[in-house]
Symmetry: C2
Subunit: 478 residues, 2 copies
């Protein structure tokens, strides 16, 4: 059995991920008695509205939609229904019907979330956007892509690559996650340092409100100051204010040149200096600045047999630098000048630059494999480990505590202590992964009471019956 | 008398600016009978709350606050009061009091807007943020600035420049406009092409609601997915949902190298090609792509004696390219390769590259002076002119119709025709300048009825008495 507990945190920001497989029972919020359960009549209605094959109720068919990919969050009921509409009109009709019937609905994209936001808590109807996966348009002059919510991120990246562009976001889950889910959860990922958050790159959204009203804000303009920017409401609200059905997004030109360097630093202050100098020297070509401590590297080296220590002498901390640009010679020259500076001043004590794409990928894979190594560690009979790694370029570093088995004592020592400690320094209890069902009760540690009250008012205004993704994001209003 | 009519439009986006000075009476929205007028008792209350010198009521003192800088929008009353609080607590106390008394309030920054959003329509109380102008913090590692709303943009840019950073936005009005007003109007400006909109670069906001509630979302993190992103509500809502009191913003590293080139194209398709090729060749160093037609250039040449035709042979269209980077040699090399390509292929038929900063500024000044030249043109006895220029890099090109005197016949032929035509192509009736008092009745041409209804619901929820910046942005709910 694999029984690790992973906790990711930092003084500035924290993302908590507790990967317990079929072991720990998470506390489930009380069922809202005002919400109904779907009946055979409802099923018949949906079969007539959609095609019969777009309505799934057999356990074999619904299973992958009702548990998250870490198998941590699982619907507390065997009475499940998944709807797979193909058009905005169908989404609208489904929601209108569900709202009238008080039927709760869970909007779902690729179901790659980590906080239980995309699976039912009880027997909410799953509205999957998987069958809404058409690219609507791509403008080669502006680089603006318009597509349906169910398009898979990697497919979109491949689509715009043909025209010399790239998606402004990239995630480990890119082969499965959908752009609608990315937008609904405000996914961050590897390109955020360079291209910013979806609040800036998403230009338009079409969304359907709880009562079926279609809000068409599918602008394809970089500038449009006409009234309140409603699309922002749906970015990061985790499907609780509306279902995103279409997205318009600005894609940047694809970089033709990429370089990766792994640098060793003796203390954390030196890592910060290495980052600041990277911004100065590499400026416009800097595309990623990642961080890991020796424990993280050891974890990968001890678990993954494909790699060996990339530097000769062990160091306390490591910084991974990536550049992306349009001219390889220029980028290498900038990188060399940077390395000369930081190694000359002693900020960096050792380092290696990837000589080709395979080496570059391998260096990045060490960073990416830390999570996998942590999760696999339960198999080996070793002690508890505290490791730290993450996106130092976004001021977002993860602290992980890994134990061999899930241990209530350790867990209760960590949560909510780690959230409270983060809150004291005005950090975020969820930098990247959202709130879902995991953290509504801790939201007050990152947001003020006035802010939470305003969120609850917005939720009540836009979804007065509370049918959209119930039990998620917001604490129950007092 | 200076009597031009300027209309800026494009197939994609439109910003209308009608610079008529003391001439045309704009239709004024009907006064809301539920709103009160301030009395001597109110004045006494505010004098006790603030210092007496922070409460202005003499006409000489209030005049600059009650008319916009183009002198197009002027309060329809001589009964004016301006409050200049110094703290968030004072803003909160003012709004709480005004809300209880049904006193309408106009939040005002630098008062550099163009659509009448920052001046009273009748005798609303002006809440000026001018006295809230402290920088709170700047983090040299992350480049994150936190400051009060009344800080002047140029001062902030100078402040962060000392640390090697720059503000992510730049406007012609930078010496007067305030960051709070920039945020409240979602100001675009010259750096948007490279650094994106304020929806992406603003990381946090503190704002005060109509009833005095302080919403503290002053995050200093690039990533914070904890609940709805409330700060987005205030960005671009023109002071109708709350008063922005503090801002946290991400500043990019300052570029040490800058180059400017003016290119001539024979048709608009060639201009578009020049833009697309610029993105490919100049990629990460491209910082501005501006456009003007021959008529625009002629207008500047005929009005401004400081310049002469920058290219030997006249052409139909011109594209102005700016690069900003961290390595001058690299940038020049990239620019040369780009010019070789576009001139070799005939996309560009002529061009000049600025040899020093003075030449670069002069080339940009031609573009910037088009507006001034249009406004000054009424002085010369020439015919009506149709000119086109603007931010082609943001897909935002302005069409201007200039007449010698304000002419009702011409005006009524242009408005609302030009808005309706833009709407037909899903353009924006206000790309940059907002809605203010000028365009609420045309909002439906850019936003659907469902979207406007949702905006009205939000306004009603957050400001049920309608005291915040009344008569602005939204049409009267039906």
């Amino acid at each position: 059995m694999i029984l690790p507990t992973l906790l990711r945190t930092t003084r500035r920001q924290i993302s908590a991920l507790s990967a317990v497989q079929h072991v720990r029972e998470f506390s489930t919020p009380a069922r809202n008695p005002a919400l109904a359960s779907w009946t055979e009549d409802d099923k018949t209605y949906f079969q007539q509205l959609l095609k019969p094959e777009s309505v799934l109720t057999d356990a074999d068919d619904t299973e992958t939609y009702t548990v998250d990919w870490l198998k941590k969050y699982k619907a507390q009921s065997n009475h499940q229904m998944v709807l797979k509409p193909k058009t905005t009109e169908q989404v609208s009709a489904i929601l209108k019907y569900c709202n009238e019937r008080n039927l709760p609905v869970v909007p779902q994209g690729g179901n790659t979330g980590l906080v239980g936001g995309s699976v039912p808590v009880y027997d909410e109807v799953v509205l999957s956007t998987s069958s809404m996966n058409n690219v609507i348009s791509f403008d080669e002059v502006s680089g603006i892509l318009v597509c349906e919510a169910g398009c898979i991120l990697e497919n979109l990246d491949n689509h715009v690559a043909k025209h010399g562009y790239m998606m402004p976001l990239d995630l480990g889950a890119k082969g499965t996650c959908q752009i609608g889910g990315n937008v609904a959860t405000n996914a961050g990922g590897l390109r955020l340092l360079r291209y910013g958050s979806l609040h800036g790159t998403v230009l338009g959204i079409e969304a359907v409100l709880a009562d079926g009203t279609v809000i068409d804000c599918l602008s394809t303009m970089r500038k449009d100051n006409t009234g309140y920017d409603l699309k922002q409401l749906f970015i990061g609200s985790e499907g609780t204010l509306g279902v995103v059905t279409k997205v318009s997004i600005l894609t940047p030109p694809r970089s033709s040149s990429k370089n990766v360097a792994l640098l060793a630093c003796e203390d954390f202050e030196a890592c910060q200096k290495a980052f600041v100098e990277a911004k100065k020297h590499l400026g416009e070509v800097l595309s990623a600045v990642e961080f890991m401590d020796r424990q993280s590297l050891d974890m990968v080296l001890s678990q993954q047999d494909w790699t060996k220590d990339p530097l000769e002498t062990p160091s306390t901390y490591y910084v991974l630098i990536e550049t992306s640009g349009s001219n390889s010679d220029h980028d290498v020259e900038k990188l060399e000048a940077y390395l000369e500076d930081v190694m000359g001043s002693g900020v960096v004590v050792d380092g290696t630059v990837a000589q080709d794409e395979a080496q570059a990928q391998k260096l990045f894979l060490i960073r990416e494999d830390i999570t996998v190594a942590l999760a696999a560690r339960g198999l080996a009979p070793t002690d508890a480990k505290v490791v730290c790694y993450g996106h130092i370029g976004d001021c977002n570093v993860h602290l992980n505590i890994s134990t061999l088995e899930y241990d209530d004592h350790v867990f209760s020592a960590l949560e909510p202590f780690i959230f409270e400690w983060t809150s004291k320094y005005r950090g975020s209890i969820s930098a990247e992964h959202g709130i879902g069902t995991h953290k509504p009760e801790y939201l007050h540690l990152s947001k003020s009471n006035n802010a939470i009250k305003l969120m609850q008012q917005m939720k009540h205004m836009m979804d007065p019956k509370g049918i959209l993704n119930p039990y998620k994001v917001l604490p129950v209003a007092k």
